[in-house]
Structure formats: C-alpha cells, structure tokens
C-alpha cells in the first residue's frame, strides 16, 4: 500500500459520505442491529434444531423453554424457527419488491424527464392519480386482484411504491438534462439509452440507494400489514404478518403472548434499524449535511 499524505489528495465524495455515515450514531446502531439479524435469519437452518413447519406434538402452545426458546404455537411448531423463517420471507418480499419498484420508478421517471413534454405531462398526471388514494386502500384493491402468495405480494407492493421514486428521478434528470456534459453528449448524437444508463443512472445512484433502503423497511411493513389482514403470505408459510394474524383469536392473544410478541418485536426492530440506516445514508449523501 502506498501511504498517501492527507494534503496530497483530499478524500473523494464517496469516502466523505462514508465518513459522515460513520459519525451518525443512530445509523451505526441500525447497522449493529440489522447485520446480526440478517446473519441469524440467513444461517438459522445450519444450527437450529427445528424447522419452521416441524410439528412437536408433545409441546403444543408451550411457553419459552430451553428447547423452544420462543415457545411453540397451537400445533407445536417452534416459534423461534418461524420468526426466522418469517424474516426470510419478509426480506425476500421486501428486496424483490424494492428492486422491481426501483426499476419501474427509474424508467418511468426517466421517460417522463427525457421523452418530451407530452410523455411528461401524461405520466406525471398518472403518478398524481396513483398518489391520490391512501396507500393502504390502494394496496387492498391491488391485493384483491392479485390474490395471496409470495409473488403476488411482491407485485402488489412494487406497483404501489414506484411513484415516489419516479418523481425524484424525474426532477434529478430534468436538472441533469440541462448540464453541459449532457448537452455535449446529445450534440455528439448520443441515443436515449446512452443518456439514461451512462449519464442518468450514475448521477442518480444516491437517490436509488436511499430509496431502496427506506423502501425495504416500508415493504416489510406493507407485507406484514397485508398478511395480517389475510391478504399477503398465506399460511402455512411463515411471515411476521401472518404470525401476528394468529393473535386476532382471543385465546392466542390472552394465553399465548409469546406467539405474537416475538414476531412483533422482530418486525419493529428490523424496521427501526433499516430506517436508521436509510436516514443515515440520506444525510451522508447530502452535501448540505456537512454544514450542520
């Protein structure tokens, strides 16, 4: 490694953003919660004795014990394994729907910024229209069409979430379009594909990263909400939402609180941690944050 003296080269924007991120205590705490959770969720089949759908007939509705750390549910399934499996499914739904909505949002925003006035007006009116309805209502209407299961849920959530990103991308690209280097590229005959992916994408990567982080937390909440109402992930597959749904029966709510308290706590922890990281990233990418 060559030693660089700090005077000879100032740190690049990414390094500075990273440094700002590390100085944000909430964001670092978020990382400290999210990384171990992620590790547990991904690795649990390797070291945990129970599978999420294993039935232990000798221990139905048993409270937390040494063998079943979080207790068991009404048919003797291990709650700890189900919470972790639920985390896997929530995460899968969240990541997949975020990726899908980021693609839709980016393309929609880009088209509306670069493809001329009519396309812009039409697509922004459409975005307004979609944003008029309260998100949960829209979610219910979409869910009534798509039905239950992992992939319908992914599609429902991503169809709901892209308009916000489309707006942010549009305003970034509208500004970018007037810059000299983009003018030069157009003058030299660059096509829309080149403009989009060579200039547009790298220059809106910060928006995309922040959107993706916050959207993952948001998608986890939406998935849990849908499953809670019985419209998202259907049992026997585990998800934090449908485990909470079990608590709508009074017996579970009153007598077996561990069956819904643990998934609830996991849900809140995950969402809080990811939101902290997202806020930290947003502040880190924003040059104005340095002034404070």
């Amino acid at each position: 490694m060559l030693a660089r003296s700090p005077q000879s080269r100032s740190p690049g924007p990414l390094a500075r953003a990273f440094e700002r991120f590390l100085h944000n205590r909430a964001a670092v705490a978020g990382v400290c919660i999210a990384v171990p959770m992620l590790a547990l969720i991904l690795s649990y089949p390797l070291w945990w004795t129970f599978q999420p759908n294993d039935i232990d007939l000798l221990a139905m509705n048993s409270g937390p014990t040494m063998t079943h750390w979080f207790g068991t549910d009404g048919v003797g399934r291990d709650v700890f394994a189900r919470v972790l499996e639920g985390g896997r499914i929530s995460l899968l739904v969240a990541v997949a729907s975020t990726a899908l909505s980021a693609v839709i949002g980016f393309l929609f925003g880009a088209i509306s910024a670069l493809a001329g006035r009519w396309a812009d007006a039409a697509s922004m009116r459409f975005v307004d229209l979609v944003m008029t309805l309260p998100p949960v209502i829209f979610l219910l209407v979409l869910a009534s069409i798509a039905g239950t299961g992992i992939w319908p849920t992914v599609i429902v959530i991503s169809l709901l979430s892209w308009p916000l990103l489309a707006r942010m991308i549009r305003s970034r690209l509208l500004e970018l379009r007037e810059r000299d280097f983009v003018m030069a590229a157009r003058g030299m005959g660059a096509g829309i594909g080149h403009l989009l992916f060579r200039h547009g994408l790298p220059n809106s990567i910060d928006i995309l990263v922040v959107y993706a982080t916050l959207q993952i937390a948001n998608a986890i909440l939406l998935e849990a909400g849908l499953s809670f109402l019985g419209l998202g992930i259907a049992p026997p597959a585990a998800s934090w939402g449908n485990m909470l749904n079990a608590a709508r029966s009074t017996a579970v709510l009153e007598q077996y609180p561990w069956q819904w308290l643990f998934p609830g706590a996991a849900l809140i922890l995950a969402v809080l941690a990811i939101n902290f990281i997202g806020d930290g990233l947003r502040d880190a990418f924003d040059p104005r944050a340095e002034l404070n």
Partner: protein, 305 residues
C-alpha cells in the same frame, strides 16, 4: 380527477383473474350453463367493459352505486353510508387526541430542549411512528382489555343493551387512542422542530427583552407561527390515518369503512370495493382542498389564487 380515479379502479378490478360471479355461486350446488348465463346477465356482467363502466358511471352520478354482489339486496351506497358514521367518529376522535397530545408534548419537548423529558418523549414518538397500526392495536388490546380489563375488546356498542353515549364512549376510547398514536407522534416531531425554529427568531427575542413573561411569549407569540406547518401536516396525514383506521377497525371489529372494505376484498365484492374506494378517494380530495383553504385563512401571507 375523481372520474379518472374511478376509471383506474374499475379497470384494475375487471382485469382481475377469476370471475366475479364465483363469489355469488354456492360451490356445492351445481349450476347449468344456462342458469349461469341468466345470472350473469341479471348482474350485468355479460356486457363489454366500456359499456359496463359507462353504465356504472351513469348510475353512480345519480347516486346509485349498484348492489353488493355478495349481499344481493343491499345497495352499495346505503352500505357505504351506514359505515361512514362510525369511521368518521373514530377518526375524528383520534384526530382530536393526536392534535392535543402532539401539540402539548411538542411544546414541552421544544421548551425543555435536550432535557430528560425531551429525550424520552422523542424516543416514544419514534417508537410510535415506526410501529405499525396493527401491532400497536394488538399491544393496546392486550394491555388494556386483556390484562387490565379497563376497556371492552371490540365492537362499537354492547350487544343487547340500550344505546347510551357512555357505552359508545367506553368502546370508542381505546381504538381512537391507538389510532392517534402514529399521527400524534408525527405532529409532535413537527411541532418540536417548528417551535424551535420560531423561538430563534428576532421577534421572539424582542418580546422576551420587553419583559413579557416566558409563558406568554410561547403561548401568544411563538405558538401561532409554529402552528402553521401543523395545519398542512394534519391534512397530509389523513391518508395515513385512513390506513391505520383499516387495521384498527379490523382488530377491534369496529363497524366502519375499513372493515367493510377488508370484507369486500376478501369476498371479491367488486361493487362494494369500487364504491368504498371511490368515496374514500373523494374524501381525501376534499380534505386536501380544505387543508389548502385553511392554510390560506390561517396564514395571511399566502394569497389565494
């Protein structure tokens, strides 16, 4: 706007896989194709899509939103209207709670900045914002009605008893308080930030220098200006509150729009989904308009038009 919205919802619902007629047929009784076709034409489901939409729109404009497929005798409009009252009652009470608590705690937190009270209020607010409505509803239900037996666990009135205001209030308080948590926490955070900003302004310092008591500076001079952003905030959180109300209603079995909509979605009762969504959309548009008008009235610096 509203017409475009109705078109969008109508199209989405008709693109759905599955036949709306399925929800109406009893799967245990075999039906001949002729009977099916007869039923289909009776329900108006055999016409092309644009015609179905136009027919629906024409009826809707005269106040007829069609009939529930699931409960054949019930007109959608009546069904929806009968559910609006409880929802408005629930959301209105929650809004009052949220505004009072949010402003009060926000002021405390801004005045006693960086104190223990401020810190603990901020943590509570953060927890309130990030816990979803259904989870806080479950926890509230568990603590207050299962463990402490202070409140009934659901419904709007005690079945079989005479109607009384006391009984209604008894059922109303818990769900309304839980619904107000997220909104109240949001209002508190904005209130704190906006009051802190106002407190740094010159005219507040002038008032203090003139010897006005600290309480009156905050209550009369600062609060008025700090409240301005809250007006917009309350308007824009209506969507959030409606979303929360759906979950609260379904946990507490509160007979409002949210419960109606969830039931309709589960049984694929398209006319009811359409009607309810449309009415909610209309309410949101009206509330947004009202917010803008209120804002112009409260803040003389903003000119209308």
């Amino acid at each position: 706007m509203l017409i475009a919205l109705s078109m969008l919802i109508f199209l989405m619902l008709r693109l759905a896989p599955g036949d709306p007629i399925d929800a109406y047929i009893d799967p245990n009784i075999p039906m001949s194709p002729a009977d099916l076709a007869d039923l289909r034409s009776r329900l108006g489901l055999d016409q092309p899509l644009p015609l179905q939409y136009l027919g629906w729109l024409q009826q809707a404009l005269t106040g007829n939103l069609g009939y529930s497929i699931k409960r054949l005798d019930q007109p959608v409009l009546g069904l929806v209207l009968s559910r609006i009252g409880p929802t408005v009652l629930l959301m209105g009470t929650a809004l009052v709670f949220a505004v009072i608590a949010g402003i009060a705690f926000g002021v405390i937190s801004a005045v006693r900045r960086n104190s223990i009270a401020d810190l603990s209020l901020s943590i509570v607010a953060l927890a309130g914002i990030s816990s979803p409505a259904f989870l806080s509803a479950l926890i509230g239900l568990y603590v207050f009605s299962v463990r402490l037996h202070w409140m009934p666990s659901g419904g709007m009135l005690t079945p079989g008893e005479e109607f009384s205001i006391g009984d209604l209030l008894h059922h109303l308080i818990l769900p309304a308080a839980l619904l107000s948590v997220a909104q109240g926490a949001l209002i508190m955070r904005y209130m704190r930030a906006s009051l802190l900003e106002v407190l740094n302004q010159d005219y507040v310092r002038t008032a203090r220098a003139k010897g006005v008591h600290k309480f009156w500076v905050i209550a009369k001079h600062a609060l008025r200006n700090a409240l301005l952003p809250i007006v917009t905030l309350v308007g824009s959180t209506i969507g959030l509150a409606i979303g929360g109300a759906i979950f609260i209603e379904s946990v507490f079995n509160w007979p409002g729009m949210g419960l109606l909509l969830v039931d309709a979605v589960q049984t694929r009762d398209y006319p009811v989904i359409m009607g309810a969504t449309l009415i909610i959309g209309a309410c949101v548009i009206v509330v947004n308009l009202l917010t803008d008008i209120t804002y112009a009235v409260v803040d003389p610096r903003i000119k209308v038009g």
